[in-house]
Symmetry: C2
Subunit: 230 residues, 2 copies
DNA sequence: TAGAAAATGATACGGAGTATCAACTTCTGT
DNA sequence: ACAGAAGTTGATACTCCGTATCATTTTCTA
C-alpha cells in the first residue's frame, strides 16, 4: 500500500478505492485514529469527493441497505396467503446470504462495530429498519387491532433476533452452517408464534386433569374418540 | 428564559441547568441548530464544563441508564426458581415506570429522536443494553446449548419489544393505561414462550384427532378420565 | 472540434470534541 | 483566622468532521 498506481485507478471506482483504503487503514490504526485525509490520500481522491460519495465517515463502513431492503420487500410482496412463514423465512435468508457473501468485509465490520460506539449504534439501528419492513408486512396481513399490532411487532422482532443470532455466531466463527442454523432458529420462531395461528383448521383444545398415569388413560382416550365407542 | 438569575444558580446543579437549557433550546430551534455555546450561555457555565458533565452533545438528551440497569439486574437476581416470568415482568415494569415518571421530558425526547438520526440511533442502541441484561439472566437460567442461547435471545427480544411497543403507544398519546397494556403485552410473550416451559409440573399433552363434535366427545372424555371408567 | 454539462479538487468556515493552563473556589491543618 | 493544598471552572488553542462555494478538469454531445 504505497498509494495509487495508474493501472489500479482506471479499473476501480473511486468509491471502491476509498472503501478499500478505509478498511485497510481502520485495520491498521483504528477507526478514530484514521482521518478522512488519510483515506482520501491513500485512495488518490480529494476529500470533497469522499463526502460526495459517503454522507459521513461512518457510512464508509456499512453496506448500502436500500437495495437489500427493497429485495426483501419484493420477496414479502410476492407471498401468497398460505406462504407467510415461508416468505418471512426467505426474506431473512436473503439478508443472511448478503452478509455471508461479503465474507471478510463483514467480519472486519463486526470487529469495528465491536469497539467503536458510534459504529455499534449505527449497526444496531440498521437492524431496526429490517424489523420495520417485517412489521409493516405483518401489519398489512394481520389486521388493525392493538393485539394484531403487538403480534406483528413481536414476530418481526423475533425474526430479526433469530437472524442476528445466527449471523453473530457466524461472524464469531462459532458456526460453519449458518443457513441451516437460520432454518432451525426460524423454526423456533414459528413454533412460538405460528402454533396458535388461525390458519389451522378445526382443532379444539380441551384441558382436563386426571391423577392417573398416561399409560392407563391413553387406551381409554382412544376409545372415547373412536367412532363407535365401547 | 433571559439567562440565569442568582437565586436559580445556587439552587440547581450545573447539570440540571444545562439540561433544562438544552431541552428548552432544542424545542425552540431544533437539536442541530442549537450549539453547545448556546446551551452553556443560557445555563451560565463554561463550555468546558459542558463536556466535563456530558460526554457529548447527544448525552444531554438521554437519561442515565446505569442506575436503571442496575435496578432491573437486582430485581432479576432476586427471583426464585418459580418466579422467572414474574421477575421478567417486574423488571420490564420498572423500566416503564421510569419513563412514565419522566412525563413530559420523555415526550420531548421522543420528539427529538423522531427527527434527529443520531439521536434515534442512540435511543435504539440503548434498548439493546436492556435486552442484553434480560438475555444474560435467561442464559444463566436456561443452560448452555445453542438452543438455550437462541431461546434466551428470543425471549429477551420479545420482552423489550413488548415494553417498547407499549411505551411508544404511550409516548404517542395512543394509550392512557400503559401499565395494564404492558401486562397484556407480556402475557402474549408468556403465551408464545412460556407454554412449553419445563417449569410446569406433571402436565402431559396428548394430541388425538376425531371428526366428531366436541359436544359428543366431552362426556366420553370425562368418563375416560374418571377413576372408575364405565 | 467547440461548447455544455458533469465531476472533481482546493479552500474557507462552523461546530463538536480534546487538551492545556490560568484563575477561582473550597477545604484542611495549624 | 490564615496559608497552602486540593478541587473545580473557564479561556484558549487546536484537530477533525462536515458544509458550502468556486475554480479547474474531465466527459459528453452536436
Amino acid at each position: 500500500m504505497r498509494g495509487v498506481e495508474d493501472g489500479e485507478t482506471t479499473g476501480r471506482s473511486a468509491r471502491d478505492r476509498m472503501t478499500a483504503a478505509a478498511f485497510s487503514l481502520f485495520a491498521e490504526r483504528g477507526f478514530d485514529s484514521t482521518t478522512i485525509e488519510d483515506i482520501t490520500r491513500l485512495a488518490g481522491v480529494g476529500r470533497t469527493t469522499f463526502f460526495r460519495t459517503f454522507g459521513s465517515k461512518e457510512d464508509v463502513v456499512f453496506p448500502d441497505h436500500e437495495d437489500l431492503l427493497a429485495r426483501i420487500e419484493a420477496r414479502l410482496a410476492a407471498s401468497g396467503p398460505d406462504s407467510t412463514w415461508v416468505a418471512l423465512g426467505d426474506a431473512a435468508a436473503i439478508v443472511l446470504e448478503q452478509y455471508l457473501g461479503e465474507g471478510e468485509v463483514a467480519r472486519l465490520r463486526y470487529g469495528l462495530t465491536s469497539v467503536v460506539p458510534a459504529l455499534r449504534e449505527r449497526e444496531i439501528a440498521s437492524a431496526q429498519r429490517y424489523r420495520l419492513v417485517f412489521k409493516r408486512f405483518l401489519r398489512d396481513l394481520l389486521g388493525d387491532t392493538p393485539r394484531d399490532a403487538l403480534r406483528a411487532d413481536l414476530i418481526a422482532a423475533a425474526i430479526v433476533t433469530a437472524h442476528n443470532h445466527v449471523l453473530l455466531r457466524w461472524l464469531r466463527g462459532e458456526t460453519s452452517t449458518p443457513q441451516k442454523d437460520l432454518t432451525t432458529a426460524l423454526g423456533a420462531v414459528t413454533e412460538a408464534f405460528g402454533g396458535t395461528s388461525s390458519e389451522d383448521e378445526g382443532t379444539t383444545v380441551v384441558v382436563l386433569r386426571s391423577g392417573q398415569g398416561i399409560e392407563t388413560l391413553l387406551p381409554r382416550l382412544r376409545s372415547a374418540l373412536s367412532d363407535s365407542p365401547d
